[in-house]
Amino acid sequence: MSDVPLSAPDSHGPEDIEAVAVRHPGRWVASAIVLLLAVAIVNSMATNPRFGWGQVGHFLFDHRITSGVVVTIELTVAAQALGIVLGVLLAVMRLSPNPLVAGGSWLYVWFFRGTPVLVQILFWYNIGALYPSIHLGIPFGPQFVAINANSLVTPFLTVALGLGLNEGAYMSEIVRAGIISVDEGQTEAALSLGMTRLQTMRRIVLPQAMRVIIPPTGNETISMLKTTSLAFVVAGADLLSAAENIAGANFEPIQLLIVASIWYLVLTSVLYVGQYYLERYYARGSSRELPPTPLQRIRRGVFSVRHDPVALGPLGPLGGVERHEGGSIR
């Protein structure tokens, strides 16, 4: 047996395959049509003077618009943060073995998913009619503070509260799906190590649930950013309200809607990037090696060009020492 040579990987076999690719005439036709349509649209937008691109450029960085952008961002952050916190709370409640706690969560979701968010915002806006003053204290017990409702519910608070409470209902379903997606064995392993239920949820289950929770949450946040434009109905100070205010004075509604749209596009694009990196963070351990980010790819590309001379080694025309000196002379 020992005389039989071990089979070694052969490196002298036939060379790599270089086959002629299949032709796809259909794809070429489709590409031509897409390109033609794109050119037609751009041409129409550029040559139709009624678009008023000059006015668009003029208002794009108008201070009323930019402060509207800031309010829109603030509203999005406030409402989405409230939604996420509520969502986690409601999801954990929903999974509670206590039927009253789980039922309470179910009822909340049923109510807030079942009514239009616009109705909810208008409702909060008019809350003063229902409760002229708001008291803080223990139910049926002593009261500590009384506040006039009309002075409390500013347009900002109305919209943030309305959108946030509504978002909580949707986020709870997303979080619940994430929690359920984590293997039961993870909980068992954590419990067997002596962790309490709360520690298990916080340290083991939720971080893993994040992989499932983040993509739809990104979706929700992008949707939230645009839904803040409903602040328009309660005279908010957000991006769309600001644009409409200007349009109401200068009668150029199209130009200002374009301005608002450009800003909404910029903001959602920023959210795309944020979501991408958040997803990568929570993908730790899930795949053997994550593909490089676009930034890493660019950096690697630049460095690989710059470092090429090193491959020549110390005997190359650019020795390591010389190279460093060259750098310092410059």
Partner: protein, 256 residues
């Protein structure tokens, strides 16, 4: 608790899932430092019994003690009172468990997997926990895999991390639920070696397994379970060589 009490004692343990009776009166004792192997066909209730020992399953009838303390309950005035979550967790912390599917935390590296519970449950400094974990991972032959995520490890390596993770809590009892059943045959040996070392160091162990060879060599006691009852038990060499019961003979003829 008391030095004389057995590490594990079961008395007439019953467990039902709905109408299905999985355990139908299990009584046994495991002494301090003893290694007990439980064998039997699938569905015989071996895993359920093992999980009952650290209260992952609540038993319906009978009594179960670990180190002289009732599992999951407190007896007061002739009645059983359920223990609060925190108390149950405290008792579980002293019992290590190793699962068939490893159940490593996939979002944590091997080192983080081992550190997590000691840090969270016992508190204490990170540096000390890291040192302890590094020692444990070296002991199971994985000192070069500290920074690897579970998905980067083979099944055998994952199971050895899982054993190190359980040992990090300094348990007085180790439960193994078919630790090698999900492994490629060539990886089984490494895991069994670690378990053999552990037994030699005097750890009290209950091992649900299909590794008859391991049971014969390492176990002090062998239990054969079928349909929720203990059919036969005793010295492993004796039981394996001369099974007295027909069902034991039938089972052994299939696995040996």
């Amino acid at each position: 608790m008391t030095a004389s009490a057995p590490m594990v004692k079961a008395e007439g343990v019953h467990k039902r899932f709905g109408r299905l009776e999985v355990l139908r009166g299990i009584s046994l004792e495991v002494a301090r430092g003893e290694v007990m192997c439980i064998i039997g066909p699938s569905g015989s209730g071996k895993s359920t019994f093992l999980r009952a020992i650290n209260h992952l399953e609540k038993i319906n009838r009978g009594r179960l003690w670990v180190d002289g303390e009732l599992v999951g309950y407190r007896e007061h005035g002739g009645k059983l009172h359920e223990l609060p979550d925190r108390e149950v967790a405290k008792r579980r912390a002293e019992i290590g468990m190793v699962f068939q599917r490893f159940n490593l935390f996939p979002h944590k590296t091997a080192l983080e997997n081992v550190i997590e519970a000691p840090r969270l449950v016992r508190g204490g400094a990170r540096a000390a926990a890291t040192e302890e974990a590094t020692t444990l991972l070296r002991r199971v032959g994985l000192s070069d895999k500290l920074a690897s995520y579970p998905s980067q490890l083979s099944g055998g390596q994952q199971q050895r991390v899982a054993i190190a993770r359980a040992l990090a809590m300094k348990p007085k009892l180790m439960l193994f639920d078919e630790p090698t059943s999900a492994l490629d045959p060539e990886l089984v040996g490494d895991v069994l070696d670690v378990m053999r070392d552990l037994a030699r160091e005097g750890m009290t162990m209950i091992v649900v397994t299909h590794e008859i060879g391991f049971a014969r060599e390492v176990a002090d006691a062998l239990v054969f379970m079928d349909e929720g009852v203990i059919v036969e038990s005793g010295d492993p060499r004796e039981v394996l060589a001369n099974p007295r019961h027909e069902r034991t003979k039938l089972f052994l003829s299939k696995v040996l």
